[in-house]
């Protein structure tokens, strides 16, 4: 799923206004200059790119069972959500 990781890095880089080459799977989102509204825009961009719904709520960070700490976490979550939600659609 290297393509997915590259796509997500590109989205994060654009939102955080940094060079994508500086971002790795273990880069923590908290290291980047992302305000809460940036995170919400980031999730929106990911949802739009992969045609999925990410159950992210700043009011309830644990409800979805998804960690948003590192870029790798984000890639893992998108892989899982894409598999789950696209499987549902094809049923």
């Amino acid at each position: 799923m290297a393509n997915m990781e590259n796509d997500i890095i590109e989205i994060v880089a654009k939102q955080a206004k940094v060079d994508g080459a500086t971002l790795k799977a273990d880069t923590r989102l908290s290291e980047l200059d992302l305000q809460s509204i940036d995170i919400i825009e980031l999730i929106f961009a990911i949802e739009d790119k992969f045609d999925i719904e990410v159950p992210y709520s700043p009011n309830d960070l644990n409800s979805a069972g998804i960690s948003f700490e590192t870029i790798g976490d984000l890639v893992g979550a998108v892989e899982r959500l894409t598999a789950e939600q696209h499987a549902q659609k094809s049923v």
Partner: protein, 401 residues
């Protein structure tokens, strides 16, 4: 400076469509958040809200009037009738030029805009209804109030997102206090339940999926509401001279701007508006017995507001009652300050503090007395009503019994 009293109150809200019904709901702690019934919910994650129910436009308005009235204007106009009837005032016998009409709204006729664009973009219609513009403009509700009642003094609409109604009522208060008008018809109105609006609110990730639990640790966000509350403010000496029933007194008004973030609340901005209100009213912190909080039920607001109350009230913070009636009537955005002003006036007058319902789990970061779940009998002399808007615009009113 003149003292300013409240001589009329009218409400269309999820808690009832007149003052009497709203009083009963507030006293019983009966919330109005439930499944959305007026819009299609297929494709929405948020399927709940606090809707105005049992409001039949045809029972309030003629066939000739209705094409001009967005739902938010219908609410405002209906509420203005109740408020003005209660005040006993008539504006066509010389009083009109001495009366202001100042109404707050966040977005105005959104339903009208949504419907018109849906026809054009989705249904391929080639034309818009000729009354679309005068129906959707944010000032339309206010315009209809002036026309129906013949109020010919200063008139305008105030928009500051969720603080719109408090800013409108605060400016109206200042105008009566200064003597530039004798009377002001003021308040707020909002009606934003459309598919597109809910989608847009969902995208901000601040909506609770089930209900609104302000200050409770298990809160999941805000729940939208709708409605209007209209009040008549009057020069106290004038009201007393004509023997009007006085429902309460506006004691002070404070404003501030965070100048910081378009969505995140600021502790210092909220606190400085509360402090400005105390100063304007000539009150000490210990004079306040109750605060009707902004209390949206989001993680950020409720902690920030709690800290701001601590900062302003010091030791007294733990002694005063704080509640969020949004737990019952939802967040009616540009009308919320007016609905909460009404709830505060009713509580002061009827001798009870409206509760924060759905409060099931204390949050160590929200450590005040939130009047959980049940209204409390109390004789409060002075209360405050907070509104803190997106954009960082804070407006706080003080109300004396």
């Amino acid at each position: 400076m003149n003292r300013v009293v409240i001589t009329g109150l009218g409400i269309i809200s999820p808690l009832g469509n007149n003052v009497e019904d709203v009083t009963a709901s507030l006293r019983a702690g009966r919330g109005a958040i439930g499944p959305l019934t007026n819009i299609p919910i297929e494709g929405l994650n948020t399927k709940i809200g606090a809707e105005v129910r049992n409001f039949d436009p045809n029972a309030h308005f003629s066939d000739k009037q209705l094409p001009l009235l967005d739902r938010c204007a219908q609410f405002a106009l209906a509420a203005s009738r109740e408020a003005i009837k209660q005040s006993g005032l008539s504006f066509r016998d010389g009083l009109g030029p001495h009366t202001a009409t100042i109404i707050g709204s966040g977005v105005g006729g959104l339903g009208t805009l949504d419907e018109s664009f849906h026809r054009l973009y989705a249904q391929g219609s080639k034309r818009a209804h000729p009354l679309t513009i005068p129906k959707l403009m944010i000032s339309a509700a206010m315009s209809h109030i002036t026309m129906e009642h013949g109020i010919t003094g200063p008139s305008f609409t105030v928009a500051s997102a969720c603080a719109s109604a408090n800013h409108a009522m605060g400016v109206a208060f200042h105008m009566v206090r200064s003597g530039s008008v004798d009377i002001a018809v003021t308040g707020g109105t909002e009606s934003v339940f459309t598919f597109g609006t809910i989608k847009a609110w969902e995208a901000l990730r601040v909506m609770a999926p089930d209900t609104c639990r302000p200050f409770s640790r298990n809160r999941l966000g805000m729940v939208l509401g709708e409605g209007a509350a209209i009040v008549v403010l009057e020069n106290r000496a004038r009201a007393e001279a004509r023997g009007a029933t006085i429902l309460g007194e506006v004691a002070g008004f404070g404003m501030s701007s965070d100048a910081a973030d378009i969505v995140l609340p600021s502790m210092t901005g909220s606190a400085s508006a509360m402090q400005a209100c105390l100063t304007d009213a000539g009150l000490r912190p210990e004079d306040i017995g109750y605060i009707n909080a902004h209390g949206t039920g989001t993680l950020a607001n409720d902690i920030t507001e709690t800290k701001a109350i601590h900062a302003v009230f010091g030791d007294h913070a733990k002694k005063l009652a704080v509640s969020s009636t949004k737990s019952m009537h939802g967040h009616a955005l540009g009308a919320s300050g007016a609905l909460e002003f009404a709830a505060t006036v009713i509580g002061l007058r009827e001798g009870f503090i409206p509760p924060t319902i759905n409060f099931t789990e204390a949050d160590p970061e929200c450590d005040l007395d939130y009047v959980p779940n049940e209204a409390r009998a109390a004789r409060v002399e002075v209360a405050m009503s907070n509104s803190f808007a997106f954009g960082g615009h804070n407006a706080v009113l003080a109300i004396r019994r």
